[in-house]
Amino acid sequence: MTVQQSDLKLDGNAIGGLLREIFAMEMTTAVGTCASCGAVRMVGEVVVYLNAPGAVVRCPSCDAVLMRIVHGRGKYWLDLTGVRCLEFSA
């Protein structure tokens, strides 16, 4: 089977469960602002790659990395450098 890069490209829906573990909230409807280009998108719309060790989340407008999430050995590593603001309902 030929695996194309596009085959590995998913969206924010694919990390709904992972984000629920971390935030204890439904996060696919949260709204994030890209620190690189300022695009404002729902988490369900962002680009997600799960083929890296962990999840790499990219901006659908400029392709900059928004988040990196790694889970293992009983810990989470959450890099949110690329997200200027993450807004979600209390």
Binding site: V3, D7, L10, D11, N13, A14, G16, G17, T28, G44
Partner: protein, 249 residues
């Protein structure tokens, strides 16, 4: 149900109450899940398998049943090199327990109270969350004008074929169009090519009616259909997408 507010996502055990072979590669698992909190059409569950040596593999599967259905159904496509789907399609038996958690997702959901004209675009097993929406629509007696465009390789690959035919002929405002991209049976009158601009222009609702569109399927198909609709000047915020990569299994 409320999808808001802090609440831990716990793993639960569901019991396989029924198995439905939908196509040669696709099966539905109908599950009894005690204390299931309910779901919205379009949400998914995570399913986890644990091997005897403790190794765990986890995948997400869209919920196929309507919120109104008494049991929770998921529909799974068998990927031969997958870790989870070959067990769920082929090995699992009635009465077996399956570990799952959910419902998950709030972006790709549709509620029958939404009366905007609805366009659903599915590729392959991307039909599953859209089927939950159609089942919800029927159970809620919604007459929301709805069109489904469903792309499959061949007629044998069409999931929920009989049910879609029944729903589409109920006279309640649902029209179902199929496109078969690889093989068409003799006398086929539906589309026979990949989804393109001309096809979308034929099935979609006029912009003035402010439709809402849900697209689910393999990533290239989803992105292709969504960009075509944006090119046709449909408002991006009314086009919701969910990509099924080939990572699954």
């Amino acid at each position: 149900m409320s999808s808001r507010g802090p609440r831990l996502l716990e793993w639960q055990l569901g019991t396989v109450a029924e198995l439905v072979q939908e196509t040669p590669r696709v099966a539905s698992l109908v599950l009894d899940v005690p204390d299931w909190q309910g779901h919205l059409a379009g949400q998914h569950v995570d399913v986890r398998l644990t091997a005897d040596d403790g190794y765990q593999a986890q995948r997400s599967y869209s919920i196929a049943s309507a919120p109104e259905d008494p049991r929770l159904a998921i529909t799974v496509e068998r990927l031969d090199d997958g870790e989870v789907s070959p067990y769920l399609v082929g090995e699992v038996r009635k009465g077996d327990k399956v570990e799952l958690r959910g419902p998950i997702g709030g972006y790709f959901v549709w509620r029958a109270t939404d009366d905007r004209p609805l366009l659903l675009v599915a590729g392959g097993s991307g039909i599953v969350p859209l089927m939950a929406m159609l089942r919800h629509r029927a159970a809620a007696h919604s007459a929301t004008p709805t069109r489904l465009l469903y792309s499959s390789r061949s007629l044998d690959d069409v999931i929920y074929r009989a049910e879609l035919e029944r729903l589409g002929s109920a006279g309640d405002g649902l029209a179902v169009s199929h496109t078969l991209t690889r093989n068409q049976p003799p006398g086929w009158t539906g589309y026979a090519r990949r989804i393109d601009r001309a096809m979308l222009a034929e099935v979609t609702w006029p912009k003035e009616q402010m439709p809402i569109t849900y697209i689910c399927g393999p990533t290239p198909m989803v992105e292709g259909a969504a960009s075509l609709l944006v090119d046709m000047a449909y408002y991006p915020a009314t086009i919701k997408t969910e990509r099924f990569g080939a990572t699954g299994g």
